[in-house]
Amino acid sequence: MHCCSHIILLFGQAICTVGDNCYRAVTFLKEGMLVWILFLLCQVGAPALAQDLCQRDAPNGYKVRISLKTALGEDAYEWNQSEMFFFQATMAFAMRRHFQMETYNVDNIILCVQTSRVSFWFVVTSPDNTTMLIPKADVEKAVRMSRHRINNAFLLSDRTLEFLGIYPTLAATVNPDTPPWLIVFGVVIGAVCAGIIALLVSSLLQKRRKEKGMTEDGQDEEDMQVKGVENGINLDGTYNRGFTDDDRFTKL
């Protein structure tokens, strides 16, 4: 819009510098009409100019797709003109951040073809020459650099704020030094080995104790036999020693 006022001002200045002694009453009327016609032309012309730059499938433009309800559910805000302005401001910020020398403004971001999806196309014009578009590759670099900031500005994510043609970089998977499964395995096998050793040692000790007990209780075994206790069961009758193969008595 400000280009129109520039043109009118310049034209007005041009008219008045012709002669200070111009017949102000008549020329004033003529000037007014001219200004009014120029104003109308500007209103129609400037957007038409911008419209040529931004259109569906523009060679240097990107389509943006926003899924508010998918991302935010009930907390979704309404997408209106203010949000569009915010988008322009965010993109201008992204361009400034990438090309640090040049001062991009909200007017440099031109939006068009808005649908209720919500989706729209945008192109970026150069701050020095508003008819020149910034090439696609540079816009992509700027978007990639500030993607995280842009997402957060709108409370969205890579999936719900899509720049069609600019693929999000894949998150690098966290690779710990020791795989977690090895840790669990180590714990389990350590416990099992400790258990095996403990059980084997206790069996060994038990056996040693039993052997020691048996040599000491050798007498008791025989007494038990005499009393007629076999395998822990009391049997009736007395054991007849005459039928034993008994080494206790010395051989003749």
Binding site: S67, S116, S119, L170, W181, F185, L199, L200, E230, L235
Partner: protein
């Protein structure tokens, strides 16, 4: 027999509970969770229960009662028992032992896989929920993108499977490590024989029921659970006319009860003789079937949830495509009004709609994607678990449950190897039991390393379908013929009266004499015929296949086919061999002194113990 040392008794169970839990744990295995629900699904839901229960009553329970009874009466492992009943049928015991050994090789490999998944469940996010990045971080690994992350984790990161059986690949070290853990855990439970097993089964036999109940409660609150359950249990009575259903029901009962392994005979041989084994048999059989039915409820609720999730994802993909193409406001098309929108858009812009290549999303198709075996546990179920909130907890619980089920079945398998070897007195006197068990576990671990190769899964499938099937049927057939006809129903009834206090009723006698042998014979013949006709191909995972991610169907190479035939026949070859050997020995004179007693009379047990009764002094 115990006539060697006066002081050395046969080990016995601490209490009846330990014995029952061990038998139940042996019978209830991973098959109850991943085979029975699948059969229920493909054979018309509730209608499958009819052939299943008939097979249980007329085939399963008689066999179970028979094994527990002869083990308890003769107080020996499988080899000793069959030698006692008839020396010519001693080969049945040897066959049982060989089959137990082969089955324990591949069964513990499955337990090792479960352990691997268990170790990997302690991560956030779960490793099978997303594809890994490729080398230069530009995208995801291609094999993973073309199939699914779950498939990729199973076939590549777990098995590292080769494209066919001829390519053996190399030993996968992480699999070797998991297998070593599995065998170590089995060893520590076996260290002191049934003393330690009896303690371990308190956990391994009861924990699966706890987890199944937790899953039941969780699964019933998930969306899509009711569709899954209705799909499972809706009976299709027409299916009963298909003889394949009856065959599968009989084989399922047979393999589910873990008879003919010799493990049950060993377990019951540690009982005192005056134990009511009839009640034990009925209890174990009924609990085994009840567990199968109980397990299928949460499994199918979760499968229904998975189908529902896939259906919603499919629809959402279509909705997004339509929304983007026609620039409709976000979330205007929902799952509920999708049909109306689709019809109206298709009516106005048919060409644009057809260009989108929308997928047809049908809930029934997703429900029909059934799987059994390792496919159910490691692919389908893991995919369902990702969508559940708190996935790590559910994954850990599920894999601990599978581990307990597998471990308690391994007890029976290993017992079927160790007890006959002890009874055959093949163990040198100087070797303590712990060392002998360690040697057997180490040998089995080393032999099972073939399943840790790249082509290991293909070999496991071969072992599973050839060792764990026809030989068992043959052994069971000879068992029942031996007891019912060679040993004699009369003598057997006397034994049962001695043990339980009453003679077996007419139902048992008719089953043992006629019905069960007949059913077994029919099942055996039908199974062999079915095997001979169909299984000459296997499904290979080949990323270079044209139709990848479908598996490539390849024929078995000739040498592999020869191995299959060997695996089916070598275990049972001992039956005729031993019979011939005994015949030859008998023909050449009755002077052969073999280590086993010459007298086939099982009452020799009491006759010899009489020698130690003290003579009263006159």
């Amino acid at each position: 027999m115990e006539d060697s040392k006066v002081g050395e008794e046969r080990p016995k169970w601490n209490n009846k509970t330990e014995y029952l839990l061990t038998c139940i744990g042996f019978a209830v295995g991973v098959g109850n969770v991943w085979r029975f629900p699948y059969l229920c699904q493909i054979y018309g839901g509730g209608a499958f229960l009819i052939p299943y229960l008939i097979a249980l009553v007329f085939q399963g329970l008689p066999l179970l009662y028979l094994e527990l009874a002869i083990g308890q009466r003769l107080r020996m492992g499988s080899i000793g028992v069959w030698n006692s009943i008839s020396p010519y049928l001693g080969g049945v015991g040897v066959a049982s032992m060989v089959v137990s050994f082969c089955v324990s090789l591949f069964y513990n490999t499955i337990v090792a896989w479960v352990l691997w998944y268990l170790f990997n469940s302690f991560q956030e996010p779960l490793p099978w929920s997303q594809c890994p990045l490729n080398h230069n971080n530009t995208g995801y690994v291609e094999e993973c993108v073309e199939s699914t992350p779950v498939n990729y984790f199973w076939y590549r990161q777990t098995l590292n499977i080769t494209p066919n059986m001829e390519t053996s690949g190399s030993l996968q070290w992480w699999m070797v490590v998991s297998l070593a853990t599995a065998w170590s855990i089995v060893y520590i439970c076996f260290i002191r024989g049934i003393e330690t097993i009896g303690k371990a089964v308190y956990i391994t036999a009861t924990f699966p029921y706890l987890v199944l109940t937790i899953f039941l409660v969780r699964a019933l609150t998930l969306p899509g659970a009711y569709e899954g359950l209705i799909y499972l249990f809706t009976p299709d009575w027409e299916i009963l006319k298909n003889p394949q259903v009856w065959l599968d029901a009989a084989t399922q009962i047979f393999f589910s009860l873990s008879v003919a392994f010799g493990g049950l005979i060993s377990f019951s041989s540690y009982n005192s003789q005056k134990n009511n084994c009839e009640r034990d048999a009925v209890l174990v059989g009924v609990i085994n079937s009840a567990t199968s039915i109980y397990a299928s409820i949460p499994i199918f609720a979760i499968l229904g949830f998975k189908a529902h999730t896939n259906y919603v994802t499919c629809l959402n993909g279509n909705i997004l495509a339509l929304t983007n193409e026609f620039d409709i406001s976000d979330m205007n098309i929902t799952v509920e009004n999708y049909e109306q929108w689709f019809d109206s858009l298709n009516g106005t812009h048919p060409s644009r709609v057809s260009d989108l290549n929308l997928k047809t999303c049908d809930l029934q198709t997703f429900l029909d994607q059934s799987a059994s075996g390792t496919g159910l546990a490691f692919i389908v179920f893991t995919e369902a678990v990702i969508s559940m909130p708190g996935s790590q907890v559910w994954a850990v619980l599920f894999f601990i449950m599978l581990f307990s089920l597998g471990l308690s079945s391994m007890f029976g398998n290993l017992e079927g190897i160790l007890t006959p070897l002890h009874d055959l007195k093949l163990v040198p006197k100087w070797m303590p039991n712990e060392l002998f068990t360690a040697i057997i576990c180490l040998l089995s671990f080393l032999m099972a390393l073939i399943f840790c190769l790249g082509s290991g899964n293909y070999w496991l499938e071969i072992f599973n379908s050839h060792v764990g099937s026809v030989p068992l049927l043959i052994i069971a057939f000879f068992e029942i013929i031996a007891v019912a006809h060679i040993y004699g129903i009369g003598r057997f009834s006397d034994d049962l009266e001695f043990m339980t206090g009453h003679r077996p009723n007419i139902f048992w006698k008719v089953c043992w004499l006629v019905i069960s042998p007949l059913m077994l014979f029919v099942v055996l013949v039908a199974y062999v015929v079915a095997q001979a006709q169909t299984h000459h191909t296997y499904a290979a995972w080949n990323p270079d296949y044209v139709n990848f991610p479908d598996t490539e169907v390849l024929p078995y190479p000739d040498w592999v086919f020869a191995i299959c035939v060997l695996l089916s026949s070598v275990p049972v070859i001992s039956i005729p061999l031993v019979a011939i050997y005994r015949l030859v020995c008998c023909m050449s004179g009755r002077h052969s002194e073999d280590r086993l007693h010459n007298d086939p009379n099982p009452y020799a047990n009491e006759v010899q113990s009489q020698k130690h009764v003290p003579v009263p002094i006159a």
